[in-house]
Symmetry: C2
Subunit: 483 residues, 2 copies
């Protein structure tokens, strides 16, 4: 909301506020059933005293437009037009609750909103900082695009042909042999997961995955009545010795894994573990989703070859994306899979959104074909490595004795465990008040209440410095007062 | 498949083909369970005699890689690696069948594939022809974009702020008063429908809609176990006198309508019918999805104001899109709705694909802000009108006495009913052989077997001329031979 009362006007502030709210209600922007922001939030938004807000709300309650409840919440219960209508207007809140798709976890809803607040320091964000995104080179790409014939129509079901050819070339370097007909272009790897969930699995299916995992942070599978079954990890990744037991115990249909620079732990699965994983899944006939979106972001050595590069039995559905290494805003990723799978997923994608943005697809193809993508990634590796080093140094300075963590060899994340007693919700709230946004571990594993996902990708150097030292202060404060 | 055998090589053609297929199988591109193309299709693809293909396939069957069935279909049943594996590889075909999302209707799958065949005349396609898409002006937009600061990160949950502001301005001209917080940017109107289906309705819900309707051509609601209940139309659109009865009889949760230049009938709902519709829905407390993607494409007079422009009770969820008037490849549309609804849908969109392409969003904002969009639409109206006129003239020349149709005052479509007896599948196949792609009416209403959706939007003038006269020939041929 951008509106503020006019402080120079002769109309009293509370009347201006009352009129503003009445207007929002009568336009249907705040439909009947809407819970309006708290008095405190409104006072902040409008830059007025809380008592001014209270006066406005009291009037609106008296007029029968709003209703307060004992918990201090206020709801729209009527609008000026209703009095004329024969029956009550739709109760949108009940519609919102009826939908089958799960809402985001409250912590994530909070984070999604807060991320766009100005000045906030984002210590957990899974995204490169804006200054690492190649805005200048993107202009070159625009220039190249404007020199080429350009079609603006719907694209082929599997995605722009030229982009798929570029992806084939790119994958060849990773020792994945495939062809354009085995590739589906998606609007980010997340959409690939969504399509797999709706296209390949029945309701009630079980999916094995690392615990903790990124996949717990979205409801792609759960919203289709599927179950996520977490398998414990060790320093090398998912414990392959447990898979056979879990597969049988839960009648699992798929295994989801992030072998390279796991989100949130940063873990890199070594060659030997990859071989074991492929063997046990081949023995069990258990297909794999390999989520490889962080692969390019290695610091000293490239990670071992993807699982998909050693997949004679076509066990692996492979996911890649430009989001982490180039630009999340492009919304371009890919699925590599056997042809009947790709055809099924492409058919659903046509019913979802008729394909990804052709602008983005052509820009992506241009990045890959021109070699600018590889150049860019080389630079990003260096930058990220420097930010990782700084972050580790800061942790060593401020967190020694109150937390433990491991050292990632690529990707965005450090998974740190607080070894002192700190209620995470309290830490999150205090940090938020101090202008720091955190990603609590419980987002990625309900039982990881003492963990935090720290990301060195988004925050600037000085933000990392200030933020991590401030965070350590908060941890110490809270843990002392808790004793 | 781009591969062709090397006709100058000393290796016999059937061996080359055998090697090619073996390779595809062992790479997992044709995984176990894949139904491979028919002998005839392979012969065409490879440019060889069918007997050459048969030799190759026979060898592969003898080696245990393929299996034929009595209907002439051939399936991959094994691969060279399997013999080593402890258990059989995943049967991807059974995965494909297990998924909950409905596949496209076979006719649509066929159309989706055939649309990208070179030289085919598309008489039913719901898309502007490439020469009506503003490729040149798009270059100007690229130039403007490359002169501006450009962020490549994930966008806000509701979509790029600046674009939402432009949409607010744009909607003001349609007498829809709203604000950026009541708008969600989506990857086309289709995605808006998908989000509504998953976000606002329980499994088992019923949706009223015009019969026929575009909505029957996708499985957005049915895949969530919802039912579409068709309400008959007359020349003014959905028959409002029936709504109350249908609502009660089916306990309907929503009504979906395309009041302006309905797909597939071309029907324009006049002012009086709009008022009746709003009245009956207000009386019944029945919310409406207003799909207004064709609004801009009027020929003589603009259509009456949207339902959303007269919506004091916040009954209407409004859908708009740039696909039909500017570029489908942009994949940009919008939902306008009460705030709790928009927040719910935005939250799901974040779990679907983390928002639409920021490239597309910024390009869309630029189109709207610069005024180029309105200029472009003015031109499109003229072009389309000319194509409509030509098409009507052609129908009058060739279809008089064998079909009836109505005259659309905007949009893309003429809904024609064949008055002679013609099995539609046969007509579709014959037309396809002659290089013409049709959209049979049954896609939009199972009982509309004698209808065709003719679109004058995609085919070029000379294609319309040749295509429609050829189509009339085919209709006459088939109907005579049927007698
Ligand atoms: C492991 C993993 N997979 C997929 C995604 C989604 O990425 P995209 O932007 O390609 O949808 C993310 C982003 O957070 C991720 O961490
Ligand atoms: C009535 C109607 N609504 C929605 C759509 C989908 O359009 P978009 O490209 O905006 O998703 C179409 C396209 O065929 C349509 O005809």
């Amino acid at each position: 909301m951008d509106w503020k009362p006019d402080f120079s006007s002769e109309t009293p502030l509370y009347i201006q506020i009352k009129d503003f709210i009445t207007n929002k209600i009568s336009l249907g922007e705040w439909a009947v059933g809407t819970k309006i922001p708290s008095q405190r939030a409104l006072a902040e938004l409008f830059n007025v005293n809380r008592s001014t807000v209270v006066s406005a709300l009291n009037d609106l309650m008296a007029e029968g437009l709003l209703e307060g409840n004992t918990k201090g919440g206020t709801k729209v219960i009527n609008n000026t037009w209703n009095l004329l209508a024969a029956s009550p207007p739709p109760d949108w809140s009940s519609y919102v609750q009826a939908g089958t798709y799960y809402p985001n976890q409250p912590a994530i809803q909070h984070i999604n909103r807060a991320e766009f607040q100005e000045g906030i320091i984002r210590l957990g964000t899974g995204e490169l900082s804006p200054d690492l995104l190649p805005s200048e080179q993107m202009k070159q790409i625009f220039e190249k695009l404007s020199a080429k014939p350009f079609s603006l129509g719907y694209e082929e079901p599997k995605g722009n042909r030229h982009l798929r050819e570029q992806v084939v070339e790119y994958l060849r370097d990773l020792h994945i042999q495939t062809s354009p007909s085995n590739i589906l272009i998606v609007s980010g790897a997340l959409q690939g997961l969504q399509l797999i969930s709706m296209g390949l699995l029945p309701r009630g299916a079980s999916i094995l995955l690392e615990k903790p995992s990124y996949l717990y942070s979205v409801h792609v599978f759960q919203s289709n009545a599927m179950k996520l079954i977490g398998v414990p990890m060790d320093v090398e990744g998912i414990q392959t010795s447990l898979i056979s037991r879990y597969k049988k115990g839960y009648n699992a249909s798929l295994l989801y894994t992030i072998p390279s620079f796991h989100n949130p732990t940063g873990c890199l699965m070594p060659e030997s573990r990859r071989q074991e994983l492929m063997k046990v899944c081949a023995d069990e006939g258990l297909p794999i989703i390999e989520d490889d979106v962080y692969r390019e972001l290695w610091f000293d050595d490239p990670p071992p070859l993807p699982l998909k590069a050693r997949d004679p039995n076509a066990l692996v559905l492979y996911l890649g994306s430009l989001s982490k290494s180039l630009s999340p805003g492009l919304r371009i990723g890919w699925v590599v899979a056997p042809e009947p799978v790709i055809e099924r997923l492409a058919d659903i994608k046509m019913q979802f959104d008729y394909g990804s943005s052709s602008l983005s697809q052509r820009a992506a193809a241009e990045w890959m074909e021109s070699g600018l993508y590889q150049q860019h990634v080389t630079q990003i590796r260096e930058h990220l490595k420097r930010k990782r080093d700084l972050t580790l140094q800061l942790l060593n300075t401020y967190f020694l004795g109150i937390a433990t963590w491991s050292v990632p060899s690529g990707g965005f994340y450090i998974w740190i465990r607080l070894t002192v007693d700190v209620p995470m919700q309290m830490l999150f709230d205090r940090a938020y008040k101090a202008g720091i946004l955190l990603n609590p571990g419980s987002i990625y594993d309900r039982n990881a209440g003492s963990f935090l996902r720290i990301s060195y990708a988004y925050a600037k150097m000085h933000e990392l410095e200030w933020g991590i030292s401030k965070l350590a202060d908060l941890v110490k404060e809270i843990s002392i007062s808790a004793v």
